[in-house]
Homo-oligomer: 349 residues x 2
């Protein structure tokens, strides 16, 4: 929970403590809900117009990305659904080489949601949007009957302008390129799973949810067309993303297990739960495939950011086993990394 922010943004005085179907009617109750502090909290000169649509000024090429968030539980160690919804779409835009600018925000609320929970989520949204430097410019609120939803689902759709130096495309990948992962993997999935399974660890495992636009855009600024691909391994994890790229581009990928950063505790939890960290979701990690000649420098520049402290070169593009990812295990064996076949952890984001 966003306890820190709540101290600065106490919930307004209201004559209701739960959200009802009427709050989704489009009538007086909807206005009451939005005017209770929602608009004030997220205020900016575009949203303040309160029109059904937002008027934006954009220059240059534009990227658009959408994501719905259905994570369960909505509050988890290291974050909540509100923060996740902002960071997730910000990161999808950053992966396109775009500077995230504007977000829409749409709620589907199950009737009975505590206003205190909704408020905590909103405060978290506000803080995450400020950190990422994006504006929430338009929104929508629907309410469904009890048992027809699950507390709250959030859709964010984002617009960003493409960084003029970005030359990102899977087709730019070539043999000798290096693969870099920006931080330790599998934290988000394990943070969620540990709550669901009631696991306790010596120190709590926290979700890695964070906005990655700052480190990503600095790489583009400094290395331009040396950066060939960026991708955030969320659902499906690192393994699925790499397997996708290998298959789609018909290239061979070699990775080495010992170079992939995984926190000791996360590794332990994965063993306990029978999960392979390669397939566990991340919400604050990206991979980038870069020209081999700049890989070390990219890694060093990333490590300057707290959110990329464990950046590591984990493998390379090879002129062999096209369409496949091969991992060299810690004890020396080699095996194929396939896409996640089904659902490992449902409702992780």
């Amino acid at each position: 929970m966003s306890v820190k922010m709540n101290l600065n943004c106490p919930i307004p005085q209201l004559d209701f403590d739960r959200i009802t179907l009427g709050h989704g009617s489009g009538g007086v109750l909807t206005h009451k809900l939005l005017d209770s502090g929602v608009f004030d909290l997220l205020s900016n000169e575009i949203l303040d117009k309160k029109h059904d649509g937002a008027f934006l000024n954009l220059e240059g090429e534009v990227a658009m990305s959408t994501d719905s968030f259905v994570v369960n539980p909505v509050f988890f160690p290291g974050g909540d659904i509100g923060e996740l919804a902002i960071n997730g779409t910000v990161n999808d835009l950053a992966m396109c080489g775009a500077i995230p600018k504007y977000l829409s925000l749409a709620f589907i609320i199950e009737e009975g949601l505590l206003m205190q929970d909704f408020w905590n989520i909103l405060v978290s949204i506000k803080a995450a949007a400020e950190r990422a430097g994006v504006k929430v410019v338009t929104g929508d609120t629907k309410v469904v009957e009890r048992g027809k939803g699950d507390q709250i689902f959030i859709n964010t759709t984002g617009i960003g302008t493409i960084h003029p130096k970005a030359k990102i495309s899977d087709t730019h990948i070539k043999t000798g390129d290096k693969i870099i992962v920006s931080n330790s993997i599998a934290n988000h999935g394990i943070a969620i799973m540990s709550v669901r399974e009631g696991l306790e660890f010596e120190t709590e495992i926290l979700s890695d949810t964070c906005a990655l636009n700052e480190p990503v855009l600095q790489l583009i600024e400094n290395f331009a067309d040396g950066i060939h691909v960026m991708r955030d391994p969320t659902r499906g994890g690192l393994g699925t993303v790499l397997a996708e790229i290998a298959k789609d581009q018909k290239i061979g990928i070699d990775i080495a297990q010992t170079t992939i950063p995984v926190e000791e505790q996360v590794n332990g939890a994965c063993e306990l739960l029978g999960l392979d960290p390669l397939y566990v979701a991340n919400e604050g990690v990206f991979i980038t495939i870069v020209d081999g000649s700049i890989a070390n420098e990219v890694c060093e520049q990333l490590k300057v950011f707290d959110t990329c402290a464990k950046a590591s070169i984990i493998g390379e593009i090879v002129d062999d086993h096209k369409g496949q990812v091969i991992i060299q295990s810690a004890i020396g064996g080699r095996r194929v990394v396939n896409m996640l076949p089904g659902e490992q952890l449902p409702r992780i984001c």
Copy 2:
């Protein structure tokens, strides 16, 4: 159901007939679902890139709008949730004076949804997008457990470019302006309600769901700054929208009940259900507030469109009872029209 289109777009051969949690995993099953025909059906040069984000070219000022659709039932007389999701966002953009261009499309599916139903919804989305001249450029699919959703929820977020002649703003309203409603009201709400309540009528009452960008943009093209306001009275209906405008702009609005087009059968159903058509949702109607001198001409131009056949001047802005809407009833009495207080018909869109 979109029976007509299904003949042209038969569901592909699949080895599954229901959507499972795995289809939302981001792994192999998600790819299988999307590659089963979803991408082919909605194909365009931007979506085909299959990146997490879409790359767009936009010129001029831009509008953005978002809406989640949770209508129950998902198939209803005259439409379905897919068509509604396209038309709803297209219309929100049109109300901003924008030419709708690009949509994102995000599904939250309850596990167990029949693939045939999903396919019918997709086909309907395709047809609606084609009719409105918009492209679906990016998307997202999440699956939640049975009992944590309700078949399917859809979010669409749209981007459009502002028509260069559009000068739409509530602040342009002035005394003497006329209020025009583009077609008969209350059809959508009553179509939904009649299914839920098992009502039968001599001829079936159909939802009015349709895209309004064509008539709206023609008005802007022809009358430019003579068009002061456009608004689509969806949730909350005509009464709520007018009451909102009167309150926000501190202006007086007079309307006459006899001039408001309502189909006889819809009127009858409203009486039967104890509903006031003024508060029943529409999905293919807009109101416009225009300079008094052009009102008749606006009305005539609208009537050329099938979707605006019943366009009618229903009232005017007066220099009296500021902040209030007063309706003159058929038998001559006058009463205040307030906003819909709570939820009249939940999950109407």
